[in-house]
Amino acid sequence: MEFLIQVGLVVAFLFLGFVFGQIAEKRHYKSIIKREKTYGRVMMFGAKFPDSDISARDASLVTGSAVVSIDYFKRFVTGLRAIVGGRVRSYETLVDRARREAILRMKQQADDLGCNMVFNIKIETASISKGAGKAIGSVEVLAYGTAVAGSETPST
């Protein structure tokens, strides 16, 4: 009997995770895509500042972070995947979401400051809850860079 209850609980969690996880992920992606269009006006550069052809002012550090957790269903499926190996799609979308969200928040901060360019972007996967990480299965991303209000000077 106790065994049945346990199995029932696991099945219920799997079902809940599947349904709500899918809904949450779809909603998150929709909002990410929408905001990516809005903040597309902020240009991002991985390079350091190319001072020769861009004049800039109002430099300041901008940061963005996001912590996203995986759902029960995906975690279960990943456990099965680990038996045969191969590409783990469920975790790919997780890190993708976390990264894009963190970058978006950084861009938003830059935009709020009236800046249109962000240079020297660094993306770091943080480990705030590494101890609890195994139990929680979350990804923490920190993105930062230098925002400037810049304009291209015509090259002579």
Binding site: F13, L16, G17, F20, G21, A24, E25, H28, K48, F49, D51, S55, A56, R57, D58, A59, S60, L61, T63, S65, A66, V67, V68, S69, I70, D71, Y72, K74, E101, F119, N120, K122, E124, A126, S127, I128, S129, K130, G131, A132, A135, I136, G137, S138, E140, L142, Y144, G145, T146, V148, G150
Partner: protein, 105 residues
């Protein structure tokens, strides 16, 4: 206090270097938030409590770095980097460091 993670401050000139400054903080989240995160674990999605923890810790570390920089007489910190580590379960260290400089227009 100006902060950048470049080697310079665009549009300004560095006149003096004052050496490395740093700021760090160790933070723990409270028990209730941990339980909430456990629930989120079933449904998936953003763990707002952790995101908050992360950004609060980051701001605190930056603030301490800024304090150190102003105590040595700097008005900007360049080449800022962040680093995170988990010292013990449920607590996290956030560390910010950079080079304190004096800039002029």
């Amino acid at each position: 206090m100006l902060l950048t993670n470049l080697e310079t401050v665009p549009g300004k000139k560095i006149t003096r270097h004052l050496g490395l400054v740093q700021g760090s903080t160790v933070r723990a989240k409270h028990f209730g938030k941990d339980i909430a995160a456990g629930f989120k674990n079933v449904f998936g999605g953003e763990l707002k409590a952790y995101t908050e923890l992360l950004s609060e810790a980051r701001d605190e570390a930056i603030d301490r770095m800024k304090q150190e920089a102003s105590s040595v007489g700097a008005n900007a910190v360049v080449n800022v980097r962040f680093s995170t580590s988990s010292v013990t379960q449920g607590a996290a260290e956030l560390f910010a460091y950079g080079t304190a400089v004096v800039v002029e227009d």
